[in-house]
Amino acid sequence: MKKLLASIAGLGLGLLASTGVSFAADTKACFVYVGPIGDFGWSYQHDQGRLAVEKELGVETAFQESVPEGADAERAIERFARSGCNIIFTTSFGYMEPTNKVAKKFPDVKFEHATGFKRESENVSTYSGKFYQGRYVQGKIAAMESKSGVAGYIASFPIPEVVRGINSFILGAQSVNPDFKLKVVWVNSWFDPGKEADAANTLVAQGADILTQHTDSTAAMQVAQEKGVKAFGQASDMINFGKDVQLTAIIDDWSPYYIERVKAIKDGTWKQHDVWLGMDKGDVVMAPYTNMKPETAKAAAEIEAKIKSNEFEPFTGPITKQDGTEWLKDGQKADIGTLLGMNFYVKGVDDQLPQ
């Protein structure tokens, strides 16, 4: 019985020590998710990345889903650090402080924090995606497909990542129709299907005939399908939830990055870094262009190719801020610091940024 108990308790470091060198040399990659893996959005995509790691490298993985940001996150991360994980991916902004706190206690474990900016010890890297590149393509499509000239944007929290997406979307739309309008509803949650659906209904009632979202559930897509308005999927391809209305979706494909980083652990070449992954390396992918005019699809594919080859950058002047002041001169490109801390709207957004 004692033996049985001991082997069950083997989650802890005990097992690693007792089963010897061969096991300890194996790599284990662990993932902490903010939502359920069944959200078919943000967390779902991270989990697809985990599965790709498992398949490609044959390493052991583990995950914990729906981990609240705050004191509970620290425990989840520490549990992984103690259970023999060599690399831990913490996949929400709110895990920034706990990730850094736990990392200090476990210098031999590597930590990868998505969308954050703090790297307080050598074993913490940060990574994020240039999702705004896809937003620009969406904006262009929206302006070409919309009849009312108004799109609705379901936003989560007014943090730079979300504001960047909103601005990029309106810039893309204005490149087609300078008078295009964008209405924004803040739901103050990453995953709340009820609130997201309410927001979608409100935006449609206010005249938006295209919906886009920076939240994680498929609720808005389902509303769009019901109401017959067009919509963009978020984080993953949501075509199954809006087969007659999804125009395209920004797909966060974390697989290439996760495989690269876990492989680096295996090879012993892992180094701290801060990366911003974009379309060029296949980390931000557009879902097939559907439910739109052929000429729209053609224009979308063209601009996508230009962004992918780094020939075009969405935040290129001339760009005016919402308050009328000039932000970027003609041909001037935004510096990375301003993009990372973006806290203002550009002209054309029909909303006050919550401050």
């Binding site: 108990l5 069950i8 308790a9 989650l11 802890g12 359920p36 583990a62 995950f63 914990q64 889903e65 729906s66 609240p68 940001e69 705050g70 004191a71 509970d72 620290e74 425990r75 989840a76 520490e78 549990r79 992984f80 103690r82 259970s83 902004f93 709110g94 402080e97 706190k101 900016f117 929290f157 007014p158 943090i159 730079p160 103050n188 990372l340 801390g341 973006m342 806290n343 919550p354 401050q355």
Partner: protein, 370 residues
């Protein structure tokens, strides 16, 4: 003629003291059996699963620390709430009082980041207590003065507090060097509630919870004030004849429970999170209501109930990782526990009568007592 299959609950003439006392334990055992069956149906070894769920978290030093961190706010809040509930004041707003305590306490390091001395922590704690008290004072005054329903007012104040926190961490309390991300500065050494032992991150919040339990136990069982609270709760008219004021009692219990929730709030912010964030509580104020009733509105029972509920969270996380089951498992176990506790309580005070009458008895006519 159709047989009558009605099922009725009848109040028992006498209730067994033994079972009244042990019903939570019976419920716990039934939850383990039902949970084990659930794991078995999901294709897991039920003994292994239950071991990982309920025993393993108690075998590691670090998980014991985590258990204390998770249970201390629940115990502290529920202990305050038991005074409210005992006196018939339904304070549902502890979550809001918790949040306001966190905000009030955190305001000191946010506005005076340079102020580093031993005295800052006591000041933060006092400020947190006051924050919780002020928030609890509102429904108490509204009830005393205008006769408003405190269930509604205290509950609605939770949402106001939540949105206030959300606004404040994006506005006045925002870390100026945080790239506009919501959240205050991280607290420095003097502003963090210290750890009790060097072996883990359990902070002094647990000590506060233990002191709170003892104080409230003493108050309820040994003092006149405690007697007053019980009388007002069970027989308000009798209490008034005895010269007790329901208004004063309402004010007192709301202030105390607000103080406890506020203290829990600042202890969580200062000890566990160490900064103010858009959300600082995964629903402690609401879960504490369950803890208070699971603990029989008795401080010592609440202490045990708080540990059990915290264990259900921790164990839920453990099985999630080691057996790859869904995160909803913790909710299922908490639901099972509550179901069995309520079921046991009902059956201790009532007996089930199956209808054995035949259809000729008209509706509404009672047929015998069997």
């Amino acid at each position: 003629m159709q047989p009558d299959f009605s099922i009725r609950l009848e109040k028992r003439a006498t209730t067994s003291t033994f079972f009244a006392y042990f019903s939570p334990f019976i419920a716990l055992i039934m939850m383990l059996i039902a949970g084990g069956m659930l794991f078995f149906l999901m294709g897991h070894n039920p003994f292994k699963a239950l071991y990982v769920y309920f025993i393993e978290p108690l075998t590691d030093t670090w998980t014991l620390h985590e258990l204390a961190i998770k249970s201390s706010p629940l115990i502290l809040i529920a202990t305050g709430l038991c005074l409210c509930f005992r006196s018939g004041n339904w304070n549902i707003g502890a979550e809001g009082q918790f949040i306001m305590g966190g905000i009030a306490g955190a305001s000191i390091p946010v506005f005076f980041p340079e102020f580093t001395s031993f005295w800052i922590l006591p000041l933060m704690l006092i400020s947190g207590v006051l924050g919780g008290m002020v928030w609890a004072l509102i429904p108490a005054i509204l009830k005393n003065r205008f006769g408003t329903n405190e269930i509604l007012t205290s509950l609605m104040l939770v949402y106001i507090a939540g949105h206030f926190l959300d606004w404040i961490v994006r506005g006045p309390f925002r870390n100026p060097e945080g790239f506009n991300f919501p959240g205050s500065i991280s607290f420095s050494q003097w502003q963090v509630l210290p750890e009790v032992f060097s072996s883990g991150r359990m902070h002094y919040g647990m000590i506060f919870a233990i002191i709170g339990v003892i104080v409230v136990w003493f108050l309820l069982s040994k003092t006149m004030k405690g007697f007053e609270i019980l009388v007002i709760g069970q027989a308000p008219r009798a209490g008034q004849f005895a010269g007790f004021s329901p208004q004063k009692t309402t004010l007192f219990v709301f202030l105390v429970s607000g103080a406890f929730a506020g203290l829990a709030g600042i202890a969580e912010v200062s000890g566990a999170i160490q900064q103010l964030r858009p959300s600082i509580s995964p629903g402690y104020g609401f879960t504490a209501i369950i803890v208070a009733f699971l603990g029989r509105l008795n401080p010592l029972g609440i202490f045990a109930a708080g540990i059990v509920l915290a264990l259900s969270y921790l164990g839920g996380e453990a099985v999630q990782i080691s057996l790859n089951v869904t995160d909803k498992i913790a909710n299922v176990f908490q639901g099972l526990l509550l179901f069995f506790v309520l079921g046991c309580d009902t059956l201790i005070h009532h007996r089930i009568r199956f209808g054995h009458s035949w259809g000729f008895i008209k509706q509404g006519v009672q047929h015998g007592t069997g």
